[in-house]
């Protein structure tokens, strides 16, 4: 009998394999420091991809996330730098803004029966355009709060640094798992991905659920955008170009079906870690062009989609709850 966690095991196994391969080849690769850096370097992507996971499980797609990250960064930098607001005042503002932006797209998708692909593509152009209009230049963020937050963290054995971004990611992860498997809304999201029509006949509030899903994705992209400003101490309108595709790739590699109805948040995190480990491998090697990351991810995607087809083709696709 096939376990419903098959794809998850395959993904996790692949990560362990890649990490081991790197550790054997390069000294210093197999350390807690490199492992911890996988989290902190990719936290913004992982947070965004977790939002994307819900969207894809529900049978949709959100192409606007990369642009929302850029818009969030530019808006935050402007509000802090030019208007002198405190970051703690700015963050709730941009988070709510990201959530509303997503909710708006969700409402369009539901009430006008539009394709998520088109609506979020429009959202992507809109957000990117807005960010560029606000400022074409990169805006530096210079605020004592940023220094405090950036310095905050725990030092684990092996010189491993667990910073704010990693902590935020772990919080988001716990919340997302609770949402997916221990709340009614989570059940509704999987239900929509199984069959929107059946879900409606079973009494699922389709409108609210759809809008909430895209709002979550918008909110988490904005959060990813804030986390990103802590890497660069700036906001720039060209941040995260093509990031939506990385997020989708991470979700798929993490075992979520692109057709919806099945997948796990944890899988997405492992998907992001796999992409991170490949990047780390390439930087350790030093001779390989960084575009090899894309090539390997492309091959992995093909392999995972083929695997999903085989699994669902035999009528035993994954299932929803843990």
């Amino acid at each position: 009998m096939q376990s419903k966690y098959t794809t998850l095991y395959v993904t996790a196994g692949l990560f362990v394999l890649l990490f081991l391969a790197g550790s054997l080849q390069f000294s210093g690769f197999g350390s807690t420091r490199v492992f911890a850096n996988l989290f902190s370097d990719n936290a913004f992507l992982a947070i965004t991809a977790i939002g994307m996971t819900f969207v894809i499980i529900s049978g949709g797609i959100d192409l606007s996330v990369g642009a929302v990250i850029a818009l969030t960064g530019v808006a935050s930098a402007l509000l802090i730098g030019e208007y002198g607001m405190h970051p703690l005042q700015v963050f709730p503002l941009v988070l709510v803004g990201g959530g509303l932006f997503g909710a708006g797209m969700g409402a369009l998708i539901h009430y006008y029966r539009l394709q998520p692909f088109i609506v979020t593509l429009a959202g992507m152009f809109l957000a990117r355009g807005l960010a560029t209009t606000l400022s074409e230049e990169s805006i530096p963020i210079d605020h004592p709060f940023y220094d405090t937050v950036a310095d905050f963290g725990l030092l684990l054995p092996g010189n491993a640094w667990v910073g704010t971004s990693t902590l935020v990611l772990l919080l988001v992860l716990v919340a997302a798992v609770l949402l997916a498997h221990f709340s009614r809304l989570g059940g509704y999201i999987y239900a929509l991905g199984g069959s929107a029509q059946s879900a409606q006949l079973m009494g699922v509030p389709v409108a609210q659920t759809t809008i909430t899903i895209y709002a979550i994705s918008g909110f988490l992209s904005a959060l990813g955008g804030i986390v990103y400003t802590f890497y660069t101490f700036s906001g720039y309108s060209l941040t995260g170009v093509g990031l939506e595709l990385d997020a989708i790739a991470a979700v798929v590699i993490g075992g979520t079906l692109l057709t919806g109805g099945s997948g796990y948040v944890i899988g997405t995190l492992v998907g992001v870690l796999i992409m991170g480990v490949i990047q780390t491998y390439i930087s350790f090697d030093g001779t390989l062009n960084s575009w090899w990351t894309k090539i390997v991810i492309g091959l992995l995607l093909f392999a995972f989609i083929a695997m999903q087809r085989l699994l669902t083709g035999s009528g035993k696709g994954g299932t929803a709850h843990a």
Partner: protein, 496 residues
């Protein structure tokens, strides 16, 4: 006690009245069959009483109070649940999750999975199902899925349970299991609306029967006092005549050699073993109620559905067509039942629609010139008297009858030896109806063989040399020559 009662319900769609002042009364603790042929309005009525559609007129009373439904969720909350033929549950979720979706018990604000699993297992045991409720619904058979759907409905304190063709894809044992559950629910005072095509099933579980036809109420009957023949007569809208009606003196065209012969052909899940022969130059009618297996015979012959047993001999050779293209190449043609979805290509012109099948037969590497297409189209427009100013009019702008003629022309242009017509006169006006019948007769006299399904008895009587009667997905009788009359066909359909 009357549980749910609908009075003078109306529902209009553009151009059609789907329900025209229909009454329906469901009592507590009864199984009530809702019967009718295609277009009778059964599914519209069900949608109105379950909140999926809002009626345009009339009123509903539920438990003695007026009822207005805006959504299925609201109907469910009031205790009216529906189980559809295509199980409307979520295959990707676990059995337990399907039963509790939207009303999960919680502990400390989180969903209490232990309790859900325990309670679902207990619930399903009452339905004689002992399965692992944590596995995805899709890992179980349709029968189990249907029982799960019923369990969900009943557990949501259903007082009214609507079963829309629940038995269509079940085998005999599974049907019995379902009937057992239905009888138990009935004993508990639940009112069940049961929609089915199988008359045997109606007579084995139902207390009362409501028959609809063309959106109007034919009547409400006690099952025990309604003979089968009368029921069929009500459904088809024919009066049973005391004396057998003799058809026109028909010329006997039998005696030609067999062109198509089916021996023990069956299709898994949709057609029982069937023998059938069509001779050269003969028109064979396929009679039977909706869902009796008429269309399935055509589909099996034409290679749309894969047969699971038996042999098909066409033109002296044993053939088993893997796809319709092979059947077309061998000299068969099929005009499908649903013209709109599987026949016409709406925006293309009449000329292009006619040329399609000929072109498909030739292969794309030998395109047909425009002049050639035009000649072909003009020939058929004249021969079949298609009412159109010219051959370039898009087919979607024609009336139903003329569209049907264009489809006929498309297949006639391939010069088939055997033409399969599935309900050729459905939804066409009376004038076109007569012309299509005339055409069928003419084709026969020219030596073409036809296999025609129809739910209109007088039509079958008018053109058939032989009528094969289908019931419950198998052939139950064959009526020849002089014996063909509306009465004999109706009796054969109804016979127990």
């Amino acid at each position: 006690m009357t549980l749910l009662s609908l009075s003078k319900v109306e529902k209009r769609y553009p151009g059609v009245k789907a329900l025209d002042g229909v009454d329906f009364h469901l009592r507590a603790g009864e199984i009530h069959a809702l019967l009718g042929e295609n277009g009778a309005g059964k599914s519209t009525l069900v949608k109105v009483m379950t909140g999926a559609l809002e009626g345009d007129g009339g009123s509903m009373t539920y438990l003695g109070e007026p009822l207005r439904l805006k959504s299925t969720a609201q109907a469910q909350a009031r205790g009216i649940s529906t189980v559809y033929q295509e199980v409307n549950l979520l295959p990707n979720l676990s059995v337990a999750q399907n039963i509790y979706l939207g009303r999960e018990p919680k502990k400390f604000g989180l969903i209490d999975w232990k309790r859900i699993h325990r309670q679902s297992a207990e619930l399903l045991k009452r339905f004689a199902l002992d399965i692992d409720v944590s596995r995805p619904l899709s890992s179980y058979s349709v029968a189990v899925q249907q029982l799960v759907a019923i369990a969900r409905g009943v557990d949501m304190s259903a007082k009214v349970l609507v079963l829309d063709e629940p038995t269509a894809s079940l085998d005999a044992g599974e049907v019995e299991q379902l009937f057992g559950v239905m009888r138990e629910l009935k004993a508990r005072g639940i009112g069940i609306v049961f929609i089915t095509h199988f008359l045997d099933q109606v007579y084995s579980v139902c207390d009362r029967i409501t028959v609809l036809r063309n959106g109007t109420l034919v009547g409400e009957f006690e099952t025990a006092s309604l003979p089968r023949e009368e029921l069929v007569a009500h459904m088809l809208g024919k009066e049973l005549q005391r004396e057998a009606h003799r058809g026109d003196a028909r010329e006997q065209r039998e005696g030609g050699e067999a062109l198509l012969s089916l021996q023990g052909v069956s299709v898994r899940g949709s057609l029982g073993e069937t023998d059938l022969t069509v001779n050269r130059g003969e028109a064979v009618g396929l009679a039977g109620l909706l869902g009796s297996g008429r269309t399935e015979v055509c589909r099996a012959v034409f290679g749309v559905d894969k047969k699971s047993s038996g042999s098909i001999v066409f033109n002296g050779r044993e053939r088993s067509f893997k796809q319709p293209a092979d059947a077309i190449a061998a000299g068969l043609a099929l005009c499908p039942e649903d013209r709109k979805t599987s026949g016409i290509v709406g925006p293309l012109s009449i000329r292009e629609n006619i040329a399609l099948a000929v072109q498909a037969r030739r292969g794309w590497w030998r395109p047909m010139g425009r002049a050639e297409q035009q000649k072909l189209a003009e020939r058929f427009i004249e021969e079949l008297q298609i009412a159109t100013p010219d051959a370039d009019k898009p087919i979607e702008q024609l009336s139903g009858g003329n569209q049907q003629k264009v489809i006929l022309a498309r297949w006639l242009a391939t010069d088939p030896q055997l033409l399969l017509l599935d309900e050729p006169t459905r939804g066409v006006d009376i004038g076109a109806h007569a012309e299509i019948l005339k055409l069928i007769k003419k084709l026969c006299s020219e030596g073409m063989s036809l296999l025609v399904t129809s739910s209109e008895l007088e039509e079958l009587v008018a053109f058939s040399d032989r009528v094969a009667v289908m019931r419950d997905r198998r052939k139950v009788a064959e009526i020849k020559g002089e014996d063909i009359s509306e009465n004999t066909i109706m009796r054969a359909i109804a016979e127990a």
